[in-house]
Amino acid sequence: MFLIPDSVGRFFHRMASPPHFYAFTGRLLPWLTAIFIILTAVGLYGGLFLAPADYQQGDSYRIIYIHVPSAWMSLFIYVVMAVAGAIGLVWRIKLAEIVMISSASVGAGFTFIALLTGSLWGKPMWGTWWVWDARLTSELILLFLYLGVIALYGAIDDKRTASRAVAILAIVGVVNIPIIHYSVEWWNTLHQGPTVSKIDKPSIHVSMLIPLLTMAVAFKFYYLVAMLQRARTELIQRERNSQWVKGLIE
């Protein structure tokens, strides 16, 4: 790996060792949690107090500060899960498998939040809780993919075999990600097109954009917190017979 500095390589090598991962994430988590809480407070203050009401949607648009970051996270986490799954499949790294399965519940949560807040936003703005348009339907399929991953993992007792099965499912499901992303461009959807990702000229005012991006970063930190908490639990359950887990008790 000539492109990766030696220290970085050593870091990842050490992190692949379960006891080291457990100890390191234990020290890291309070900091990540604090950063998440501070960013959320700042983002919500900006979004709920400082930002003006939308000239068309009034105050209902304020759902955007959780809806859009959640939808972004639902896609981002799926890709992380599939990449971790692929790494686990190829190199048989136990921690990659654990990151994969620990991401699934967090991703499912964000997908659920994106769908629910979208519905709560759609009712006053579109006059309906739900339509079977391409964006909403493909996001619903994403939720089913996450739930499928969780159910499949639970259904196979040997967790190494389960991880391989889940990784294949997760990788195949990646096909849905570009479909969700481009659905608003490929099809005529009731869901509006992108407002933020037009880099040259985002059609959203800066007083609304800054809290939105702050919330997006806050949710990234939340993902790290929730995923690592799940990973630590998963790890000691899998390694229950090892010396280092017994050492945690004494």
Binding site: F49, G58, R62, V106, L120, W121, Y222, T233
Partner: protein, 55 residues
């Protein structure tokens, strides 16, 4: 802007606060459940090890 006005959300209070409330509950549950599970698991394991030592 006073607080009453803030909570009214221009008439969209139900939609906005339900969104924020459910989001809070879901995120809290997903982050806290594994911590509780881990504590219970370690407790159970400690019990088991104690019994093993006695016998």
């Amino acid at each position: 802007m006073n607080w009453q006005e803030f909570f009214a959300m221009g008439g969209y209070a139900f939609y906005v606060w339900t969104s924020y409330g459910v989001t809070l509950l879901v995120l809290l549950a997903i982050a806290v459940l594994p911590v509780i599970q881990r504590k219970l698991f370690l407790k159970e394991l400690a019990h088991k090890m104690k019994r093993m030592k006695k016998s």
